[in-house]
C-alpha cells in the first residue's frame, strides 16, 4: 500500500525516504534541547523543537538529512530549530555527503521567537549558498501538510533542486498572510482550489521552480531524491546571473496575470482550466512540452 507523504509525520517521512535503519540522529529528543522562548511563554515545547536532523544513507550513499514537523507550530523555525539546521549544513561542508536533504514542512519563522527565527533564516540562506559554493548538493522535498512558506520558502529556493508533489505548496507569503495584509478580495485563503492553483506543485513545476513532480507517496519522493544524487551541483556567479535573468524574464512575461491559469495559458497549455484535475502522468505529458526550464 502506498504511504501518503502528505499525511506522514516528519519522522515517518524521514524513515521512508532514507535507507531503512540507516538513520543516526544528531541532538536527539532525549537530549531535550527544547525552546527556551516557548518555555518562558508557558507554551508547549517539543523534545526535538520540530525538526529531526542526522546522518543516513540514500541508495547506499551518505547523506545528511533534516525533516521538519509541520504538526508542531506549523513547522515554524525558532532558535533551536534553526540552530539544528545550521549545524547540519555546516557539517555538510566538512563531511561532503552525496547530498544535503531537506524535508521541508514549515510556515516560516516562529512568531513566539520571531527575532531569533528571522536571524536563523538569514543564517540558513547564507549557509546553504556557501555549502553549494563548496560543492555540496542541496535537495529539498516539499509535500507536507504545512507547505513551505515564508522564510522556509526562501530557504527552499536556495537549494539546487526541489522535488514536489501536487499537494505540496511553496511560496513566500502564505495565503493567510496575503489575505490579512491585502484583504480577502485580493486573496481568499479559504478558497483551497485557489491556494493550490497558485502555490501548489503543478504551478511550481510549470514555472520551473520544482525540478520533479511526484505522486503523494513516500516511495516516489525517495526515488526522485535518489535520482537527483547525480544531478549537477555547485554554485557559480554565472549561475546566479542566469537565475536573475530568468526572474527578470518571468516578471516581463507574467506580471500582469491575475491567476495561475493565465500564466499556464501563456506558457502554451491548451486547456489551463483542466490542469488542476489532470492525473500526474497526463499533467506531465502536457507540462513537459511547455514549462519554463528550471
Amino acid at each position: 500500500m502506498s504511504r501518503s507523504y502528505y499525511e506522514a509525520s516528519a519522522r515517518e517521512r524521514l524513515a521512508g525516504v532514507v535507507d531503512a535503519g540507516s538513520f543516526h540522529e544528531f541532538v536527539p529528543p532525549a537530549a531535550r534541547v527544547t525552546s527556551p522562548h516557548l518555555a518562558q511563554l508557558d507554551q508547549p515545547v517539543a523534545f526535538d523543537d520540530g525538526v529531526v536532523v542526522g546522518r543516513a544513507t540514500l541508495a547506499g550513499r551518505p547523506v545528511l538529512v533534516a525533516a521538519q514537523e509541520g504538526g508542531f507550530l506549523g513547522g515554524a523555525i525558532g532558535e533551536v530549530h534553526g540552530a539544528k539546521l545550521l549545524g547540519l549544513i555546516e557539517r555538510a561542508r566538512t563531511e561532503r555527503p552525496a547530498a544535503l536533504l531537506f524535508l521541508f514542512d514549515s510556515g516560516g519563522v516562529r512568531l513566539h521567537e520571531a527575532n531569533a527565527g528571522l536571524v536563523a533564516v538569514s543564517e540558513l540562506i547564507r549557509a546553504i549558498l556557501r555549502a553549494r559554493r563548496d560543492g555540496v548538493r542541496c535537495l529539498g522535498l516539499i509535500g507536507g501538510a504545512g507547505g513551505c512558506f515564508g522564510g522556509t520558502g526562501l530557504i527552499a529556493r536556495c537549494c539546487d533542486r526541489l522535488v514536489m508533489s501536487e499537494e505540496g505548496r511553496l511560496a513566500m507569503s502564505g495565503p493567510e498572510v496575503i489575505e490579512t495584509a491585502r484583504g480577502v478580495e485580493e486573496f481568499d485563503s479559504r478558497d483551497r482550489a485557489l491556494v493550490w492553483r497558485v502555490t501548489g506543485g503543478k504551478h511550481r513545476y510549470l514555472l520551473g521552480e520544482a525540478d520533479r513532480l511526484v505522486e503523494d507517496d513516500v516511495d516516489q519522493f525517495r526515488a526522485a531524491a535518489a535520482d537527483l544524487l547525480d544531478s549537477e551541483a555547485g554554485l557559480t556567479l554565472a549561475a546566479v546571473e542566469r537565475e536573475h535573468a530568468r526572474l527578470q524574464q518571468r516578471w516581463q512575461r507574467f506580471a500582469d496575470c491575475d491567476d495561475a491559469p493565465e500564466i499556464w495559458q501563456r506558457l502554451g497549455v491548451d486547456n489551463p482550466a483542466e490542469v488542476p484535475l489532470l492525473p500526474l502522468d497526463q499533467f506531465l505529458a502536457v507540462a513537459d512540452g511547455c514549462r519554463s526550464a528550471p
Binding site: S9, R11, P28, P29, A30, D42, Q43, P44, V45, A46, F47, D48, G50, E69, G71, F72
Partner: protein
Amino acid sequence: MEHLDYELPSRPQPHRREPLLVGVVGSGNCELLLEGGPPADRCRISIKTSAHGFAPIWTAVVADFAARAAAGGLQIEINDVGATPAVVSLRLDQAIEAWEESANV
C-alpha cells in the same frame, strides 16, 4: 502549563533499547518520550499539558495504562496539547508496541 508526575507499579518491560519518541506536539495530540531508568517494576510518567484542571482524568488514564501494559522500568515523558484520554491511551499503547518492535534486547 500544568505539570503532573506519577510513579506507578507495572509489569516489567522485558526489552531494552535507546530512547524512543512517539507522537507529535499538535492540537489535540501529544508526544511521548520513552527511556529506561526506573526500577523494573515501576513506571514513571511525567506530563506537561496545556489543558489545565484535568488531573483526575490523567490519574485514571495512566493508572489504567500501567495496569494493562508492561511499562515497568520505563520513564515516559509527555508533552500534551489537549489530547483526549482516548488519544493519550492510544499513543501510550502505540509507544509500548513500537518499543517492543524495535528493541535491541
